[in-house]
Symmetry: C2
Subunit: 196 residues, 2 copies
């Protein structure tokens, strides 16, 4: 069985991705299993650059094919912000609640039809022979108050198109079918399956 | 018949896009038909922001549903540069040849397997009720010398995956099947067809 490293220190994300990639003949580790691999600074200007940077650095340190992802919320009327700075929109080391408040403030008085947004996920796969990017989108809109307690980040403010519930009100089973990360992971999974 | 404006002043691009969107019940104009619409400065940090900006400004001035596109070449080993600055990579008001020389210089001594790149095209559609983005990719690699005289921009340096010819050696018929712009336009076309 081949090995893959997932360049994340987030145990929730690791679990989610292991579930999404289940069924493939790969043993999926996280960088947490390799304490000597230094932490990667996510200072790229785009999701693509961050995902590549994380995957490259972990691959260089481990020599094991590495997957890294970066995701962001892109709000059309805010010129696709917060995007790559989604996790630190309200500042460094802020809480999800602070980011959500900042987003609501930026969208104050913005009418419903101008609150379109999308979550975007970019996954980089770096091996000894190649670098590949995969991408997934989930389109929807930003509502005016927080709803739901599942998920994380901007989930309580985001209603995916075709639904009436926010990401934070939907079950993880549903979210794992329609989410940006699931769609990007499905592409990665197809790619890895074809390799075999 | 409904009308659409294409927010470009480039007659070659207008012709290409009219061909790609042929068969749809829309009359496609360019901003050149509306001399009072001011030129839009493409100073966004991403292709998405530029495409939205162009489409919004022309829609605001014309009140006619507007399509705008922005495209760029993203080279993995250059951290997805030149990307949004593809047209001005070597500076303001440069020629395609100068941009190509700059790219070759940046990739000097970079081995073949690290010369992966992709063209990316983002199309924005802005109407009175919505803003939508479409995206297309064409993956390939950057070679070490210019080859071919069709197309424009970085076409003589880019070989799409699965081919041995550069974009500048391929016919426009082939390019219009596999290119990033064609793939994004096909999505737009599907979307517009479904509206009818």
């Amino acid at each position: 069985m081949s090995q893959l490293i997932l360049a994340t220190r987030n145990k929730g994300k690791l679990k989610e991705i292991q579930a999404l990639l289940s069924g493939l003949p790969y043993e999926i580790h996280s960088v947490l299993d390799y304490p000597n691999i230094p932490e990667v600074v996510e200072d790229g200007e785009t999701l693509e650059v961050n995902a590549l940077k994380k995957a490259r650095e972990v691959f260089l340190a481990s020599n094991i094919p590495t997957i890294a992802d970066d995701s962001g919320l892109e709000v059309y009327s805010l010129n696709m912000m917060p995007g790559v700075i989604s996790a630190r929109y309200a500042g460094e080391n802020v809480t999800y609640a602070e980011n959500n408040q900042k987003l609501l403030k930026e969208l104050e008085n913005v009418p419903a039809k101008k609150r379109q947004a999308r979550f975007r996920c970019v996954i980089a796969l770096v091996t000894s022979t190649e670098e590949i990017l995969f991408e997934g989108f989930c389109k929807g809109k930003i509502i005016e108050e927080l709803r739901g307690s599942n998920g994380f980040g901007y989930d309580p403010l985001f209603i995916p198109d075709g639904f009436t519930a926010t990401f934070a009100e939907l079950s993880l089973e549903i979210k794992n079918i329609i989410s940006h990360r699931a769609l990007a992971m499905n592409q990665l999974k197809s790619y890895l399956s074809d390799l075999k």
